[in-house]
Symmetry: none
């Protein structure tokens, strides 16, 4: 199973030889991705992007008419159409819905969340109000399909009787929220606040899955001595 990356990894470099002109936009996008993720939109200097891409400032504007344009291109470029593949893998999964959910979330982290590329999601959320058009694009191309995937996993559990019947509209967020929270955390406070007990993403996810699946409350079978919600 390979819930492959949601972000293009610019395989550009044909063989590291006679590439140049054709590779330019890709190199610029890669450099811009790095810097936007690292420093945010407004703190990223056009010249720095150019330098990291190995070209001059002027060249950058040959390919992108403005810094905003570059940013939009980075976001658009980062979205790859790998959902079909992912969807296929999920559908092909043999095992319980719980297992599928576990696998999916951990894989999502290792393939996407842990990647620098995940910074794009953080970036889009951060800059959404300044780039509404981009937000809509991202919503349409990334969020909705992702939601759909989560929905399919939950549906599978409900259909099999493994999961309780929940309002699907909000049930999806049970999975989505912890993941996006982790992303945001990693790229914001977690990245700049010294912390003696930092979040270990794998442990975090494991713990979240446990609660997502079984809840905080003692199971009713355990005849809770006291404190049960309805007792």
């Amino acid at each position: 199973m390979s819930l492959s990356s949601l972000v293009n990894d610019h395989p550009a470099a044909p063989a590291k030889r006679a590439r140049r002109k054709e590779a330019r936009p890709g190199e610029l996008l890669a450099a811009a991705l790095d810097l936007f993720v690292e420093k945010g939109f407004s703190a990223t200097r056009a010249e720095e992007v150019a330098k990291r891409a190995g070209v001059s400032k002027g060249t950058l504007f040959l390919y992108f008419s403005s810094k905003e344009d570059l940013f939009k291109a980075v976001v658009r470029d980062s979205v790859s159409g790998r959902y079909p593949e992912w969807r296929t893998e999920i559908q092909a999964f043999k095992g319980s819905a719980s297992e599928l959910l576990q696998r999916s979330m951990h894989t999502w982290w290792s393939r996407y969340g842990a990647t620098k590329a995940s910074g794009i999601s953080k970036l889009v959320m951060s800059e959404a109000t300044n780039f509404p058009e981009l937000a809509m694009f991202y919503q349409r191309e990334v969020v909705e399909p992702g939601r759909e995937l989560i929905r399919s996993i939950l549906q599978r559990g409900m259909d099999s009787g493994e999961f309780r019947r929940l309002d699907m509209k909000y049930g999806i967020y049970t999975v989505l929220a912890p993941m996006l929270f982790l992303l945001m955390w990693k790229h914001s406070l977690g990245a700049c606040v010294p912390n003696n007990a930092p979040i270990v993403p794998e442990d975090y996810i494991t713990a979240q899955i446990d609660t997502i699946l079984h809840g905080l409350c003692m199971p009713p079978a355990a005849h809770a001595k006291k404190g049960n919600k309805s007792s």
Copy 2:
């Protein structure tokens, strides 16, 4: 129970000329809150804040020594500084931990999440890497105390046997993640994407609480007796 006002309510200016030194900081803070939430920290122009507060550029710097200082003041004014009260109310709460959790989350929303002030949390997460000092300030003044509050609720449930024993370190995020996700959503994608099925915060929270408490899985023994959302 009244988790009293989590947010300052800057009342309208006294008259026209009568507004004096005492009112200025509040007016500036209110204007700054509006603009920071609306456009982000970097994109907000000091002069614009002043103008919205009805004063000149220079006046702003009479009350806040720098834009960053202004931001800190907004955070303090809008977000932190109310924890002691909230803490007291939580400790005074009579009822099960589940009920406390429910009340706390709903109240958190109505008193903070639903207000403009909540945009600050989104803002800090968005701009944290550019303003590490601000991020640390927020971490210290807002995040840590908030975590402590959640911890106290969960501990109460565990002590009473109502909640399962969880690793507290990650257990906290079970509560924190859905709330911060909602905030981010509201202020980023949710704010600029037309949606025919928008998240209704109260319903979202209700649903999240249900899952947090009971999990997605069917309870092992109690055959479908509970867990149906509509039952």
Copy 3:
């Protein structure tokens, strides 16, 4: 003998009792003198002057129409008409011209150069090009009379045969240059450069007088073995 101060010392305070309105300008001038000398014209803040004078910023502008105006007033105020007195004392001096020169220079230092008030001379030289009118005033009121005094001392020495006959026009600078140099040094580089061998004004003056009177060269009587200028 008292070659009294060239600068007014604001004897203002009538008896430290019912002074206020009448004393204001004087207090402001005194405060401004301090600060201008200490920090220069442009680095001195109007508000700081007011604060040191114990009044509000507005009051300052009640008495002086602008910061430039204040500066001019400070300089004009600092010039007192004590030359007649000084002149008298010099004329009354009994002793050789050499002794008179020595006494005059040392006294000049202790009564004026060592005083904070000497900063005015430095200030005028520093700001001369920005305040030409002030420079002319100072030239007329301070420099010319001072030059006249030096001239009288030198003339006395020449008349008595004690001094060589020199072109008086430039001879004056033999005395003036070392003194003004000391002033400048004290208030500029000497004031802000850490120095393990700082100039001790009294020693400096003593040494300068020695050279002024006897020159660097070995006296001809000593049958200079070699290196004599004209030998």
Copy 4:
């Protein structure tokens, strides 16, 4: 003997469009020198320097990271950095110490004092207290080496028996003071006061040398044989 050029002579720009990166710093330095000397450091506007150099405000900061940096560059360019050459020439001089002193002082004037660059010395003394770092820079780069040069001349005269033995610490000022005084005079009072008998620098220096070497007093033995200015 040729105490070669103490000052950079920024030759005119090559053409009109051809002036490129190599010429810019020199043009900016020349413009800055003009303005700093003319108006002082604080009163000189960065934009004005740029305009006089024929470039835009932004270009200035392409070459100098700040106004202070620009000033340091002016100092380096106009004043220091020529000492080694000068030192060599002094050491190579064949003749008496008196002659060396004469030549050095007159040359110092024609090569430095008479040029615009000398305004820098006046400027530093004027603004030293406001820019301590600048003052220290000047002290280190200009004053100390200059003092060393004077010391070497005096030492030579003492070693040869031509000069009396003096405390070197203060002896240096015998030479330094008249020169710095002349500089100050030229750029402050002398520059803005109409004068019907202005100082003629060459005559001033000649006269000062005479006194420095032989003093004001009649030589003890040689009855008026020398010391007359015109003899």
